[in-house]
Symmetry: C2
């Protein structure tokens, strides 16, 4: 199995999809990538904005967002509709044969509603199964699957899923067939020693350094689950995980992103 083909799984934040300049840079970089590719996109602020416009207050418990039925409808509209189709049409215009998917389409991603313990997160999905053969058929056919992080439970219920986790689960599952690398793209160059200084990029991070930086308060907020997910992916077959900007995909990645190892 040493000669498995390379697969690139890319997760881009919703803030990139919302920004046409960043999105343009992304399309250009994306087009230069070689071999099969899977794209997963986040949601950005559009869902929150729409929620506010409709007079729904986002519900949070212990600082974490709860997806009630109204919120589920909104994220389904924004992620699986507006952003997913914007990306697919944009990629098609660049000659990339993208196909937009939710987890329900082709039964691609099966999840279950998160169990209620101390907190009821509502219609939030934890992923059970990635349909590797369906996704692989699309890749073999030259398609670029573009996933929004809306999944289903197989009983007709759509579920809101974390896009970072979805990207990692897809990368892990596809590792049975491919040498899979995972890119988390956002608006920062990667893990920074000083979050206020974009020049302070940490180009390589292992679990030991991660724990040191965590203890020192250098890694905070959304970067914590992202790095936890990255190390989990590495432990489960993914070959490399990079974190960085969209214009550092491809050959620039080694020098100009954070490589998790």
């Amino acid at each position: 199995m040493i000669n498995k083909q390379q697969l690139t799984v890319i997760k881009i934040g919703g803030d990139i999809v919302d920004d046409n300049a960043l999105l343009g840079a992304f399309y250009t970089q994306f087009k230069s990538l070689k071999g099969p590719t899977i794209l997963i996109h986040g949601g950005g602020n559009r869902a929150s904005t729409l929620q506010e416009q409709l007079g729904h207050s986002p519900i949070k418990v212990d600082g974490r967002r709860v997806t009630d039925l109204a919120a589920l409808e909104i994220v389904t509209m924004v992620y699986a509709g507006l952003l997913n189709k914007k990306l697919v049409a944009g990629l098609q215009a660049k000659g990339t044969n993208a196909i937009g998917l939710s987890g329900a389409d082709g039964d691609a991603i099966r999840a279950h509603k998160r169990e209620v313990t101390t907190v009821d997160y509502g219609f939030v999905g934890d992923i059970d199964r990635v349909n590797v053969s369906f996704i692989n058929d699309l890749l073999l056919d030259g398609k670029i699957p573009v996933f929004s992080a809306i999944t289903h439970d197989g009983n007709g219920q759509l579920l809101n899923t974390n896009a970072d986790t979805l990207a990692a689960k897809i990368a892990m599952a596809m590792s049975s067939l491919y040498n899979t690398q995972l890119f988390y793209c956002f608006t920062k160059p990667g893990v920074l020693q000083d979050v206020t200084n974009d020049q302070s990029l940490v180009t390589r991070i292992d679990k030991g350094l991660y724990k040191e930086m965590l203890a020192a308060g250098q890694i905070v907020a959304g970067m914590i689950p992202k790095l936890e997910t990255a190390f989990q992916a590495l432990a489960q077959g993914v070959v490399r995980v990079h974190l960085g900007k969209v214009d550092m995909l491809g050959d620039n990645a080694i020098k100009h992103t954070t490589l998790c190892l």
Copy 2:
């Protein structure tokens, strides 16, 4: 080419997707259909409701709706997101391997922005090309393509398209490979001699009868473009066109729907 396989193309109105009782009846009938099937759904009232909630007044010129940029975003959210994924998850729950698509996905349906003559309809698409080989690959793979009527122009622009027309164009294009029948499903039993009396079903209609009924004022409003599209489909290779209720799909269709011929 006499032995071409049968293909069923079904268009369901958005009012059916919005009504869980009708949708349940539809899923049951749909599951009983034999052979490859393609589903196209309309939008119903959800897009208009959302437009009103967001304080956008639907713009109409000469009684026809204009799709400005805000309206395009709303229909993309509602049709390609909310309704499409609801349908796909519902079909998946019945063991039907549905895959939801807009015209941008896999470059399935290419359209152009309608030219401005006396009226500028905005981001409304007239269909140029149906990607028969992509759709057929999905059918051969046992998938049920589920289309929302959002298309693209190949240059990154999404377009709002009439769902009846999209269904007819798909049926016409697929007729090169299949004996294709087209069903228009709505909440009425079909063409009625008296629109206030559901018992007055016209079970067979040809162009001659259509013109008589049109002259007599028996066929009005949305039924006119639907029947025009039906006769156009028949003229371009579609074998049969039925109009009727969702629970009359399949073997009941001959007696309990309107057959256009």
